[in-house]
């Protein structure tokens, strides 16, 4: 590394250390340094990963590809891992998981996320229709077990369906950038050729790299693919006869994942199959089964059957003592984090989203199973 890149980096590290120091903490008490930094520039933070939207592209009709420039708190990722992206939509924060699709060796340090906008995918629709270049979003550090091993496998099979393509795309791009010389088969399932994300780039990679075989499978009666129809063991036998020797990475919609898993299980190869569950937004719950399900108090490791009364009462009945005050929704003493599930607001009758969010226990009734952080 030469001196010109070293100096700003040293300076930056020094500044970072200064801003995280105790003195800075006391001077900025009680708000903290970050609350002042973000006034100057929304990207600045001493701890949080924030990123600016650099580019928005539409590779297919219903998808969006967002290129992000993260701040220096971004620690990188392993191909296959995901990040949690938080955006503010009409004043409210929403968080979703996306797997970066870019190569680990991308030189500009940017992150590329691709999402398919489903009819009921609230956040993906926002990303596709409303997100603007220049906006600042929040990211979590990368996480997840689904990741390309440090010791690159000798033979790689990548299987994906729909927008499950992103983590394996990152693996493919990374391996190609590294000059990996083992065999790679990229098997992708999409409804139609037009719906296939990264179609052009994949075709290009396959022609430039002799060790990469691209297999596209489109729906019955669609043209343009090497294979057709849904995943079946015949596809494997005819096109990837040596699949048993490969380390396989799989990401796609649940039915497809199940079909692939079954084959690997039958062959006794389960330990060679790495998979990332990729789920569609959970469908709207019918309010008729409101009183069903259970209430899970995660931190106290307690679980009770949902009896339909408000969550404060249910928590107390379960022997917990959450903070409370007015018991009528005005003092916010009973606010706690709901990590999963939906609740109905007793005052407005409105049903919440299934996202992680703060709720007031005393005026919230669970709609089906709910998990609380108490």
């Amino acid at each position: 590394m030469n001196a010109t890149t070293q100096t700003p980096r040293r300076f930056q590290q020094g500044l970072q250390r200064l801003l995280q120091s105790r003195v800075a903490g006391v001077l900025s008490y009680p708000h903290g340094v970050d609350r002042y930094l973000e006034v100057l520039n929304p990207l600045w933070s001493t701890t949080e990963v924030r990123a600016r939207v650099e580019k928005i592209e539409h590779l297919t009709a219903d998808s969006v590809t967002v290129t992000l420039q993260p701040n220096t708190n971004w620690q990188g990722f392993i191909p296959g891992q995901f990040v949690q992206l938080t955006v503010s939509i009409d004043g409210k924060r929403h968080t979703r998981c996306y797997s970066p699709a870019n190569s680990l060796h991308r030189t500009d340090g940017r992150i590329e996320l691709t999402a398919k906008a489903h009819a009921n995918g609230f956040v993906s629709r926002y990303l596709r229709e409303q997100l603007q270049e220049g906006e600042v979003v929040t990211l979590s550090p990368a996480g997840g077990e689904f990741a390309l091993p440090e010791q690159r496998p000798e033979r790689v099979l990548l299987i994906s369906g729909g927008s499950g393509i992103t983590p394996v795309m990152s693996m493919l791009r990374t391996l190609c950038d590294e000059g990996y010389d083992g065999e790679i088969t990229f098997l992708h399932y999409a409804n139609r050729a037009e719906d296939m994300i990264y179609a052009d780039e994949l075709a290009d990679i396959a022609t430039r790299h002799n060790n990469v075989t691209l297999l596209r499978a489109f729906g019955e009666g669609e043209s343009g693919g090497e294979l057709s129809g849904l995943f079946c063991s015949e596809h494997l036998c005819s096109s990837v006869p040596d699949f048993a020797q490969a380390t396989t990475f799989l990401c796609g919609p649940p039915p497809m994942m199940a079909a692939v898993e079954k084959v690997w299980e039958e062959e006794g190869l389960s330990d060679r199959l790495h998979k990332e569950q990729f789920t569609l937004a959970t469908p709207q719950l019918d309010t008729s089964d409101e009183a069903g399900g259970e209430v899970r108090f995660a931190r106290s490791e307690t679980l009770v059957a949902n009896n339909g009364s408000n969550l404060l009462e249910q928590a107390e009945a379960a022997g917990l003592t959450p903070e409370s005050g007015c018991r009528m929704g005005i003092c916010y003493s009973c606010t706690c984090k709901k990590t999963a599930g939906k609740v109905r607001d007793l005052r407005t009758g409105e049903i919440s989203s299934g996202d992680e969010e703060d709720i007031q226990l005393c005026v919230s009734v669970p709609v089906g199973t709910v998990t609380l952080d108490i």
């Binding site: 004043g91 007015c326 009528m328 916010y332 005052r347």
Partner: protein, 380 residues
């Protein structure tokens, strides 16, 4: 006789429904504009604070000192009133931002988030103007109601009120300790008090250290200028916020209630009690922002968790409801309300019942109950 006794149960229900409808409409409308509003305000406050503290470093120059004090006072007032008070009410919890949230927000004030939410959000807002339940009636120091038993110490009412206002942030910080229970009524032991004081003292220490030691020390030889500037800014905030709060509940016509009204109180009754127990004052936009929109104390007490910048728009509707049911809508200029408050403070220093128009209510109350919407609750 207070209107509280002449309304029929049906009228209470109707009032409840009309106000609930406003609340639901506003909640459904929450969105980007509220986010923008609070974020912009926070940004302004942080800018004012940095400017104020910066200017005070050059405080040996009188204009810089004055400008610094002005900026820092404005910063502290914004931080405590329109930002801190409102955020801690949960007005912006729906945004899902962990930094603008009733659970995590902390303010430039010696009172802790937890203590504040207990005495203010819970006790004061739930039991508004109910004697022996709402500690804001006199803060355990003053006599603010005819029906508070007179004690010799209340002769000092006006002087105590000045002291309370001068050190308002500290009195608010220790309010949850109910010091009078230890000092005067002897119902609290020293050990209990000590344990309760611990978290508050931690916060107080940090605030005092920052304002009176660290920042002045940063100015080196100009220590005294920064010190004096910070004292003045804290004082300005204390005097202003205490007066705003007094004006919200202690003008002479504002009513107080006996504990019996709480029994099986319906939503409608609760709303009416909030309206009878609060008072507004008038002013321009800046006045409203600087008072944390507590100039709309009536609206705030009806809808404590609706973003306060919305009160101005809701107020004509609330006024119309008051008119429709013959309820008073107590408002006036800041001056008028302040004078009225201080009159009450002076009157209450003497024993006996000397007016305060809420007194009819304190006579035997037979709560009028209605079936629907009754909420049971227990005091913590």
């Amino acid at each position: 006789m207070s209107i509280y006794h002449t309304l029929t149960p049906e009228q209470f229900d109707a009032i409840g429904q009309e106000l609930d409808a406003i609340r639901n409409r506003e909640i459904a409308d929450l969105g980007e504009k509220d986010e923008k509003y609070i974020r912009t305000l926070i940004k302004r406050q942080r800018q004012l604070e940095v400017a104020g503290r910066g200017l005070l470093m050059a405080g040996f120059l009188p204009p810089a000192w004055l400008a610094g004090v002005a900026c820092l006072s404005a910063s502290k007032i914004l931080d405590n009133m329109e930002i801190g008070h409102n955020v801690m009410h949960g007005q912006y919890d729906w945004m899902g931002d962990k930094n603008i949230n009733s659970r995590n927000f902390d303010w430039d004030n010696t009172c802790t988030n937890t203590a504040w939410k207990h005495t203010h959000n819970f006790e004061h807002h739930t039991f508004t103007n109910v004697l022996d339940k709402d500690h804001d009636i006199g803060y355990g120091i003053l006599r603010m109601s005819d029906d508070q038993e007179w004690e010799p110490r209340f002769v000092l009412n006006p002087i105590l009120a000045v002291i309370l206002s001068t050190f308002f942030q500290h009195f608010v910080a220790v309010q949850s300790l109910k010091l009078e229970d230890y000092l005067i009524y002897k119902t609290k032991t020293k050990e209990e008090l000590k344990a309760e004081f611990k978290p508050t003292w931690k916060k107080m220490r940090k605030q005092l250290f920052k304002d009176y030691l660290l920042f002045p020390a940063l100015a080196g030889p100009f220590f005294p200028f920064v010190f004096a500037g910070n004292v003045t800014a804290n004082l300005a905030r204390n005097l202003w916020s205490s007066q705003v709060i007094f004006n919200g509940h202690f003008p002479e016509e504002v009513e107080q209630f006996p504990e019996s009204v709480l029994e099986d109180e319906s939503r409608g009754h609760w709303y009416v009690r909030q309206m009878l127990g609060s008072a507004n004052f008038e002013g321009g936009r800046l006045m409203h922002i600087m008072s944390g929109n507590l100039s709309f104390q009536i609206e705030h007490h009806l809808f404590p968790d609706i973003p306060a910048h919305r009160y101005a728009r809701i107020s004509p509707e609330v006024k119309a409801i008051c008119e429709k049911y013959g309820l008073p809508y107590n408002t006036g200029s800041f001056m008028k309300q302040s004078v009225s408050v201080w009159k009450r403070i002076f009157k209450m220093s003497l024993p006996g019942k000397r007016g305060g128009k809420g007194k009819g209510l304190m006579a035997k109350v037979i709560p009028l109950k209605s079936e629907s919407g009754s909420t049971s609750r227990q005091a913590a």
